[in-house]
């Protein structure tokens, strides 16, 4: 299916596009198109964020939207993250569908009161009398010495909060479909993008379409090891899986696409088949999404596991600046390959 494919190289994509005759788009263009279509079709939708109308257009993801829809609907705002999140929540309570954009996910700790105490709790606290249709877009940075305050991925923090949903798309197809679904969902959604995959390309239908939350996809089928990978790690895991085919190891790559709700059935089914589980995430290890996925497998289907669960994560340190330290910090396809091989050796040793 064209929408499940991950394209690792441009040649990869060109071959596909020529054969299938399907439209391809970059991740960032898909995000932009989703917002453009939402603004066109729903007067309740508006975008706010620091720099949404600037010449760069949030790395291109809001480029030209202010010109097309005006500064009242694509709203540049003061750097007052918590107060402005409150403004977005208030507008949502009054029937609007705001999309709040943050150039870095690191700025979300500024908004925690409004996201956690207000947006996430409101529907419950009011006994269902009032919903909060709010989408918070944030971008994980990486590399070029971005260091500790411009490269964090904090979906693990939000996973802990009842009332929030979390989408973490890896492909252009999912970026568009999940963003449209998020805006129409009616709940507060943390929408987490990755700067390093903004230029990745893939099949994106031109129409307005939605991807249901809580439905993962199998990026590559395999029978020896399951790798649950998120965001940019989907690419690293797919690369690892392709390379390991040559070494006789068959890897199944699963992309959950949303981590809250989580498609645990898809993961359980895969682990039933492979008996081995690696979770590759773009965040620090302790208390993260990987820990939750591992725990759900152990709680629900421990009998499926033939080897210990392994996690591929960032180490439990803040992100460093120096390129040498960065190289040591970030896992990649090699890290995933080594982890997979280690797991398979364990089996051999049994």
């Amino acid at each position: 299916m064209p929408w499940t494919k991950v394209f690792l190289t441009e040649d990869d994509l060109k071959q596909f596009a020529a054969v299938e005759g399907l439209r391809s788009l970059s991740y960032v263009a898909a995000l932009r198109e989703a917002q453009e279509q939402l603004l066109e079709t729903d007067p309740r939708v508006f975008i706010l964020g620091e720099g949404v109308d600037d010449p760069g257009g949030i790395f291109g993801s809001t480029l030209g939207l202010a010109d097309k829809f005006g500064s009242a609907r694509v709203l540049d705002i003061a750097i007052a993250e918590n107060g402005m999140t409150g403004v977005a929540v208030g507008a949502a309570l009054a029937g609007m569908c705001p999309i709040f954009v943050h150039m870095r996910m690191d700025f979300l700790p500024m908004c925690m009161d409004q996201i956690i105490n207000h947006a996430a709790k409101w529907h419950y606290m009011t006994g269902g009398a009032q919903k909060v249709p709010l989408v918070v877009r944030s971008i994980i940075g990486r590399g070029w010495g971005s260091a500790a305050q411009h490269s964090q991925a904090l979906h693990g923090l939000f996973l802990h909060i009842p009332g929030l949903k979390i989408a973490i798309p890896a492909t252009p197809y999912d970026a568009k479909g999940l963003l449209i679904a998020a805006v129409e969902d009616g709940n507060p959604v943390m929408f987490i993008e990755h700067r390093w995959i903004y230029d990745s390309v893939g099949y994106v239908p031109p129409e307005k379409y939605r991807i249901p939350f809580g439905k993962g996809v199998i990026r590559q089928e395999g029978s020896d090891v399951t790798v649950v990978a998120m965001s940019q790690m989907v690419y690293e895991a797919t690369k690892a899986a392709r390379e390991l085919t040559n070494e006789g190891i068959s890897v199944e790559v699963i992309d959950p696409r949303t981590v809250k709700p989580l498609d645990e059935e898809l993961i359980f089914q895969s682990v039933q088949k492979t008996g081995r589980l690696v979770i590759a995430d773009v965040a620090c290890k302790t208390g993260g999404v990987g820990a939750e996925i591992a725990c759900r497998v152990v709680e629900n289907v421990p009998e499926f596991l033939r080897a210990p669960v392994k996690r591929v994560n960032f180490p439990d340190t803040p992100t460093p600046c120096s390129p040498i330290l960065e190289d040591a910090y970030y896992p990649n396809s090699n890290t995933i390959k080594e982890t997979i091989k280690q797991l398979c050796r364990m089996k051999t040793d049994d």
């Binding site: 402005m84 403004v87 009054a94 009161d113 409004q114 207000h118 269902g128 009398a129 009032q130």
Partner: protein, 312 residues
């Protein structure tokens, strides 16, 4: 004002039975502000209030039955027993819900006003908050944005001089909160919050200003709460504040002074006041009975409403 006062005095009467299991933050002594401001609001105008919200909700038209039932944790409560005293909601009356995080509701009111401006309707939003909330960054961030966009919002600061037990003088360098408005280029007005007529007149101009599209106003109402920060008792005996300060303010009861004025002007007489009290009490007694007779939610309701679902 009488409804609000008696509504809360009845809570004090029943609270000792220990079956109203929700922390109550009483506004006794501050009733003139809710009454004076909400008199100008239409049903669809928004109010965002605080943990000390009973007065605002009643003044906006919420049925006492739904509030009491909520405080008793019953299914007939305005939040089906999920919110309690700190989180009343009545969306059809312009109360989308209530936050108990100090300062948290101020930007929500601004956001509701932004929605009104975007839609081009004539609704105004009112943010009720205490002096403690004016310590918060969200207060300043909200004033800044509302002033910048000329939003139809009225910021009503009920300055009762204490944030829980911390006096204003220990928290801010200047006792006049309304002066902050000048920094954002919007009108800042200070009134005696215990003079319901003064509040009414100041709020009238501010609400009209918002409705005309001329932007926000910061209205500081100086007042005093007679009870402790939370619960049915007073806190001066614990050393939270000087007794003389309390009695001075109690001598300036907003209800008593208004009653005396009405009688002095010949608008009303003592008999009318007694009749009003009787009517209010009878209504509230029925409301408490309704609440206590109502069913509790099923324990399985625990898992309901975590998320909005389109088909429900």
């Amino acid at each position: 004002m009488v409804l609000i006062r008696r509504f809360e005095e009845k809570i004090i009467e029943v609270y000792g039975l220990q079956d109203m299991k929700s922390p109550v933050h009483l506004c006794i002594g501050q009733e003139g502000i809710a009454a004076g401001v909400c008199a100008h609001l239409e049903r669809e105008d928004y109010i965002l209030t605080t943990h000390r919200s009973h007065g605002h909700c009643l003044a906006k038209g919420v049925d006492p039955k739904e509030l009491y039932a909520e405080f008793y944790g019953r299914i007939t409560g305005c939040c089906r027993g999920k919110g309690g005293s700190m989180h009343p909601a009545a969306p059809t009356l312009g109360i989308p819900g209530t936050t108990a995080i100090v300062g948290g509701g101020i930007p929500l009111a601004v956001g509701a006003a932004l929605a009104s401006q975007m839609r081009g309707d004539s609704r105004v939003s009112v943010a009720f908050f205490g002096d403690g909330a004016s310590d918060q960054g969200a207060f300043h961030e909200s004033l800044n944005f509302a002033a910048l966009k000329h939003l139809p919002v009225l910021f009503v600061c009920e300055n009762n001089y204490y944030a829980t037990n911390s006096p204003l003088s220990a928290r801010q360098p200047h006792p006049d909160i309304y002066l902050r408005a000048a920094g954002y280029g919007i009108p800042g007005v200070s009134v005696d919050g215990n003079d319901v007529l003064a509040v009414y007149q100041a709020a009238q101009e501010a609400v009209h200003r918002g409705r005309r599209g001329d932007g926000p106003t910061l209205l500081e109402c100086k007042t005093y709460r007679w009870k402790g920060h939370v619960g049915p008792d007073c806190d001066w005996e614990k050393g939270c504040r000087p007794h003389e300060e309390l009695t001075e303010w109690m001598d300036r009861c907003p209800i008593e002074s208004w009653r005396k004025k009405l009688i002095a002007w010949g608008v009303a007489d003592q008999e009318w006041y007694h009749q009003l009290l009787e009517e209010v009490d009878a209504r509230l007694d029925l409301a408490i009975k309704f609440a206590r007779d109502s069913a509790f939610p099923a324990s399985t309701d625990l898992y309901q409403h975590v998320y909005y679902e389109k088909n429900t």
